[in-house]
């Protein structure tokens, strides 16, 4: 990490935003952020670039008094964004929970960009994340040459955010080993980071806050200690609310992916996409789309992202081995693979679903047969 000690240093990389494969949120939406900040006359918490109300508008979209349109960054319940922003305003740490593919990272990036104007203070949580990534490390050349001093110290993003009064993000918090996680406790409760080697400490200035994301399904990986957990306000990001929204997301994404993989477009595939999304949603929600029949849920997450991969896989099958049209048989195997993660329990769930729901459904005969074939 080429982090300089100077808290006011510019972005680590010198790349122009335009050249970046994926620009940071604060660069991509610089104009919107500027417009919001300019017209925001509400009180701002210390070191916030704009008021909490404006942050919420930035995420949810809207039209400013002067007519500037703010695009929605997050499509979902307004309540969630409001609670998230409010949490940051009350200097509580925010924990975003959700199954993979529910835009946790996306929301945290935009929140950081809007609140602090900088979304790059980031700790990526992995099973190997060391304590240094959260506290500080040492520049050993300096350390050996001059002994311990602030100059030999390599601050972590957390430390920098504390010094600057900015927002730091921790991705995949539950993947970080428990002992490393716990270094956050002092940071979050005392708002201070001691440096015993120097007999000093870094105190967070007003405006510092932390956004963590964690995967719902991975709770068991490194469950947060209750001491740490109680420092967070938790917001669960839900899966898309309606079939329509989800079909739309899947279709669009499949289209993009297919193009990059040079797959031919699937003109008649829409029906199958809807079917895949319906199956996923029903199994996930444990109830059929008409709300009349309950079904068991399998152990897999069945997220939107998985639906996308099932359809993409089906398209590849259809293109290379079929007649180019996405058919039930092309997606059946993919669905089976996505649903049946645990061979014993999930298979029962799947077969029950097939027999109790799919078999009876009008117009789904092909699909039923294709699924029977691969499930047998």
């Amino acid at each position: 990490m080429s982090v300089s000690v100077d808290p006011t240093s510019e972005k680590p990389s010198g790349t122009e935003p335009a050249e970046a494969l994926r620009p940071h949120a604060e660069d991509a939406f610089a104009a919107e952020l500027a417009a919001l900040a300019a017209q925001d006359d509400r009180p701002r918490p210390a070191r916030w670039k704009m008021s909490p109300w404006a942050v919420a508008t930035y995420l949810l979209g809207g039209v400013l008094p002067d007519g500037t349109a703010i695009s929605p960054k997050y499509v979902g319940p307004r309540r969630i964004v409001e609670v998230a922003v409010t949490t940051l305003a009350t200097d509580r740490a925010l924990l975003l929970l959700g199954v993979p593919g529910t835009a946790k990272t996306w929301v945290s990036e935009h929140l950081a960009a809007a609140v602090s104007g900088d979304s790059t203070l980031l700790v990526q949580g992995t099973a190997g994340t060391p304590e240094e990534a959260i506290r500080y490390g040492w520049n050993y050349a300096q350390l050996l040459a001059h002994g311990p001093s602030r100059d030999a110290l390599v601050p972590s993003p957390v430390m920098r955010a504390m010094a600057e009064g900015a927002t730091v993000r921790v991705e995949e918090l539950t993947r970080i080993p428990a002992d490393v996680q716990d270094t956050l406790i002092t940071v979050l409760s005392e708002k201070t980071l001691p440096i015993p080697e120097l007999g000093q400490e870094v105190q967070a200035v007003r405006g510092f806050n932390l956004i963590a994301t964690a995967n719902d399904r991975d709770r068991g990986v490194n469950e947060l200690s209750s001491a740490l957990r109680r420092r967070f306000n938790t917001v669960v990001l839900p899966l898309p609310e309606s079939v329509e929204a989800e079909v739309d997301i899947v279709a669009r994404r499949v289209d993009q992916l297919g193009r990059s993989l040079d797959l031919p477009p699937a003109p008649d595939g829409f029906e199958e996409i809807r079917r895949v999304v319906t199956v996923f949603r029903e199994l996930r929600d444990g109830v059929t789309s008409d709300g009349r029949t309950k079904v068991k849920s399998p152990s897999g997450t069945l997220s939107t992202a998985e639906a996308i991969s099932v359809v993409t896989g089906g398209l590849a099958l259809a293109a290379h081995f079929g007649d180019g049209v996405l058919r039930s048989a092309d997606v059946a195997a993919g669905i089976l693979g996505a649903v049946v993660r645990d061979p014993a329990a999930d298979r029962v769930v799947w077969q029950e679903y097939l027999e109790a729901v799919v078999r009876e459904r009008a117009g789904w005969t092909d699909f039923y047969r294709a699924c029977r074939e691969v499930s047998a």
Partner: protein, 956 residues
């Protein structure tokens, strides 16, 4: 405070100060029904104005009941219940909670010795309206109240018992000089939100369509944002305007204009919270009246629905009452508490004659009123009675807490969560309060409402999870509060309905125990049975089912009847469920279904619903059942539930109930079992395997009864086949599966022997093999006979037993003993003899051309002859011992034996010669019968025994 001024004028003359010119106008307090803010404002206004009488929107027949509100035993929530005397199914409710403005006004009047009166249109008319409206409303309601049948208004109940208006004695001296209205007591409540529900049969009045009531659906819609009680004076107007949210929603209109998407929140913010600063207790009412006046001006211009017509009539009546009260107590001595919607109409100057004209020719029914206990759950919309408030617990909290409502609320949440073993510290509560307050600020609200506190609870106390939140919602936001009514309150309509039914069915309640035998084929008896079953569902254990003597037909039922005095109390308690026995039982069954702990309980409930003929409850019960079945992962539970369902289907047939839904669910259940059974049968220990074997038996029996679904048996056989072949399935289950297949005639000739040979082959651990044997021929399922008659199977068992090594033999022995000791002595003896004689004595090798495998090739003439006399006797052919000339005696005999079995069900054992016994054994039940009868004496049976003797003789 001597503020003689009435609120309205404050409104009118916007200054609000005491305006002498305005004196002489009544104090009109427009409220939002069940709004705690309104309730406080009403109390403040009454305290300030000190009126000489209080008029409340509610049925005037209830004036007599008002003093009961002061009774020490009266504890809200309660409801004023009006019902047509001769038709208890038609009823209206005016629920009142502690925080209802109407209740507050009532209590204030009682505490200050001021007469209170109800001034809404008498229930005698509003109930009659319902009757006229019924056809239309039926539809509307059917949609809303998901079919809780209004249809069961039971028009047939015209029985004239109605005459006895309850008219509680002792209450007569109500504070209100009774103006000729002879009503019972009742106080009225409030127009409680949706209160005046149309009592459709099931008793649920959904907020909407109530004719008479102003369905204030709008009132408390939506997640409550409680009126943040904090501030002292908010006047909330109940605006019961949204009589039905779609047609018109004045609040919605106002809120929309103000840019709110949620009328309730607007209400709270604008009316309730904003009033904080003002010290004038009348100001909120004034502001509200103004707003309502503007709304009504527009609205009344294009009003055209019947609802509107009714509103006008009601308002005319209220004006008349107001006028007469003003004459009596002086113009400024009168305070009126009514839905804000009505305020402008009451203020309007209308000629008395015009009002009278409107009231001419209203339809009438005899109406009775009483107080009934109510619950918070029922106040909540989810409860079904549609008072239209979603958060009674929250409202009660706001009303009861003097200060810091948010802090107190969150502390209560924390206590609840702690009781449920969640770790919640004070620090959590502090953070939740901060979050709620900041959230309110972000949303631009003056104070946190229920939605803010709920968000805070979810994010801080529940760690984002909705599961504990549901608990909070259930226990606190709605709450478990149960109201109480003093013993002096008049009888509930349910009791009356019961009286009437008892009279009609000639079923007197008697203290002495007696037995009652019913023949369900008779209409009267069938109805009695239904009544008793329904009462049992309601917890009124008047009759107790007893075993029938003599006939075992499903059309017989025997009851032990005994009326204990405390049953009257039970009936009164059951009154909360509905006004007729049918409606109450239906509602109770539906609630029970939702609350049932296990799948088996739900199936039992379904059975009882059928017995009690509650077709309207059945869909709910079935839905719950289907849901439970879908989510239950234990095949054992499903298998237990299935037989009861299949049984219910049969009962349904006897009683002529429509069991379509039931059959559907049963088939679905069977499907799930088919899918789940094979995986559930692996890795079982001995006990579990034995339980599973019983489940397999139960399912087998049940599938046989589900004859409407043609493909079920075939699918079941496929499952059995899977079970029989899978090695990981315990032996006892595998053996059982093979046996069932064999009995079904599904195995190829010789297949049974092959499979058995496989199961008993040397590679199989002896313990497993013994278990297999137990499954195959064990228990009282006629397995012994099978062995007696299929020699090859017996030989296989015999052969296997001799190969069991000595050291394992002792392990296997208990299993075998369990298997064989269950056989009847005769079978055991025969088996013993067969074994002693040893294999091979009787043509062990069936020739290729032979018929049934396992039997001798030729016909044993001697034994066949021995049977002939019996057959002749049975067929009535006379005792001629002529020679049989049948070219294919085996077949003929088999046919005859079947014939015999089907006629008497007894002779199978006796007549069984080689060719036929197999058939007999194939049917467990018949086999059982056969043996049982063989043991007894009796005309035909004597012959049977002869046959049996012959058989035994052959064996020897």
């Amino acid at each position: 405070m001597a503020a003689p001024v009435s609120a309205e004028e404050a409104a009118a003359s916007e200054g609000g100060g005491p305006d002498p010119a305005a004196a002489g106008r009544p104090l009109l307090l427009g409220v939002r029904h069940h709004g705690p803010g309104s309730a406080r404002a009403v109390r403040a206004a009454l305290e300030a104005a000190r009126p000489r009488t209080v008029l409340i929107e509610g049925p005037p027949e209830a004036d007599v009941l008002i003093p009961l509100a002061a009774d020490g035993d009266m504890r809200p929530p309660v409801a004023l219940l009006a019902h047509a005397v001769d038709e208890p199914g038609r009823s209206s409710f005016w629920p009142m909670a502690e925080f209802s403005p109407e209740w507050v006004a009532l209590r204030w009047a009682l505490e200050h010795g001021v007469p209170a009166r109800f001034i809404d249109l008498p229930a005698t008319h509003t109930l009659a309206w319902q009757r006229h409206e019924e056809p239309e409303e039926a539809e509307e309601e059917a949609e809303e109240a998901e079919g809780s049948g209004e249809a069961e208004g039971r028009p047939e109940s015209a029985e004239a018992e109605g005459g006895c208006a309850v008219r509680t004695p002792g209450l007569g001296d109500g504070p209100a000089p009774d103006r000729g209205r002879t009503v019972e007591r009742g106080e009225g409540g409030a127009g409680a939100g949706g209160g005046s529900g149309v009592g459709q049969g099931s008793g649920r009045a959904e907020a909407s369509a109530d004719g008479p009531g102003d369905a204030d659906g709008s009132g408390a819609d939506d997640e409550g944002r409680g009126s943040g009680g904090v501030d002292g004076g908010r006047g909330s107007g109940g605006v019961d305007g949204g009589r039905d949210g779609l047609r018109r929603d004045p609040l919605g209109t106002l809120a929309e204009v103000a840019g709110y998407d949620d009328p309730e929140r607007w209400w709270e913010d604008v009316v309730e919270h904003r009033a904080t600063g003002t010290k004038d207790p009348f100001a909120p009412f004034a502001a509200l009246e103004e707003a309502m006046g503007a709304l009504r001006e527009t609205y009344d211009r294009d009003a055209a629905t019947p609802e509107d017509g009714r509103d006008l009539v009601r308002e005319a009546y209220m004006r008349i009452q107001l006028r007469s009260a003003q004459r009596e107590f002086g113009a400024d001595g009168v305070a009126v508490v009514c839905g804000a919607w009505h305020v402008p109409a009451l203020r309007r100057k209308v000629a008395l004659a015009a009002d009278r004209a409107l009231l001419k020719g209203l339809p009438k029914v005899r109406a009775d009123l009483t107080w009934v206990p109510w619950t918070h759950r029922r106040l909540a919309r989810a409860g079904g009675y549609g008072a239209g408030i979603d958060a009674p617990g929250w409202y009660a909290h706001l009303f009861a807490s003097r200060d810091r409502p948010v802090e107190r609320w969150l502390t209560r949440v924390a206590v609840l969560l702690r009781e449920e073993d969640r770790i919640v510290s004070s620090a959590h509560v502090i953070e939740a309060v901060r979050l709620a307050e900041t959230l309110a600020a972000l949303r631009g609200r003056p104070l946190p409402g229920l939605s803010e506190t709920t968000d805070a609870v979810r994010a801080v106390l529940c760690e984002g999870s909705d599961v504990p939140l549901a608990l909070v919602r259930d226990r606190l936001v709605v709450g478990d509060v149960l109201g109480e009514v003093p013993a002096g309150a008049p009888a509930v309509p349910l009791q009356r309905d019961l009286d009437r039914l008892q009279r009609r069915l000639r079923l007197r309640p008697e203290a002495a125990e007696r037995e009652l035998a019913l023949d369900l084929r008779k209409e009267n008896d069938a109805e009695r049975s239904r009544l008793l079953h329904r009462l049992r569902l309601l917890g009124v254990e008047w009759g107790e089912p007893a075993a029938s003597h003599g006939s075992t037909g499903t059309f017989r039922e025997t009851w032990r009847l005994r009326w204990e005095p405390e049953l009257a109390v039970r009936v009164a308690e059951a009154g909360v469920w509905g006004t007729t026995v049918l409606a109450a039982a239906t509602a109770k069954a539906e609630t029970d279904a939702a609350a049932a702990g296990g799948l088996a309980q739900v199936t039992e409930l379904a059975e009882r619903c059928l017995l009690a003929a509650l077709p309207d409850a059945l869909p709910t019960v079935m839905r719950v059942l289907a849901d439970r079945a879908a989510l239950d992962t234990d095949v054992g539970h499903l298998a237990q539930a299935l037989p009861a369902l299949a049984r219910s289907l049969r009962y349904g047939d006897v009683r002529g109930t429509d069991t379509g839904a039931l059959a559907e669910v049963a088939a679905g259940l069977a499907e799930r079992i088919f899918v789940g059974l094979p995986p559930a049968c692996v890795s079982l220990d001995a006990d579990a395997a034995d339980r599973m074997r019983r489940h397999v038996d139960a399912v087998h029996g049940a599938v046989g009864m589900l004859d409407e679904h043609v493909d079920l048996p075939a699918r079941w056989r496929a499952v059995l086949r899977v079970l029989s072949r899978r090695d990981s399935v315990p032996g006892v289950v595998r053996g059982r599966a093979v046996r069932l297949l064999l009995d079904e005639g599904e195995l190829e000739p010789g297949e049974a022997a092959r499979v058995m040979g496989l199961a008993l082959s040397p590679g199989t651990p002896p313990g497993d093999a013994a278990a297999w044997i137990e499954g195959f021929v064990g228990g009282g399922s006629g397995g012994g006979l099978l062995l007696v008659h299929d020699e090859r199977l017996l030989a296989l068992v015999d052969g296997w037993l001799t190969t069991v090594p000595a050291d394992v033999f002792t392990d296997v022995l208990p299993l075998l003993r369990r298997t064989f000791s269950a056989y009847e002595p005769g079978v055991r003896r025969t088996l013993g003899e067969l074994v002693r004689r040893g294999p091979g004595k009787r043509g062990r090798e069936p020739a290729a051309h032979a018929g049934t495998p396992g039997f001798a090739t030729g016909l044993d003439e001697r034994r066949a002859d021995a049977v002939l006399p019996v057959i002749r006797l049975l067929l009535g052919l006379g005792p001629d011992p002529g020679t049989a000339e049948d070219p294919d005696p085996g077949t003929a005999e088999e046919g005859m034996a079947r014939d015999v079995t089907s006629r008497e069900g007894t002779a199978s054992d006796g007549t069984a010669s080689d060719g036929t016994a197999y058939d007999g054994a194939a049917d467990d039940r018949m086999g059982d019968y056969g043996r049982g009868d063989g043991a007894r004496a009796g005309g035909v049976k004597a012959d049977g025994e002869t046959g049996g003797g012959a058989l035994a003789g052959v064996g020897a």
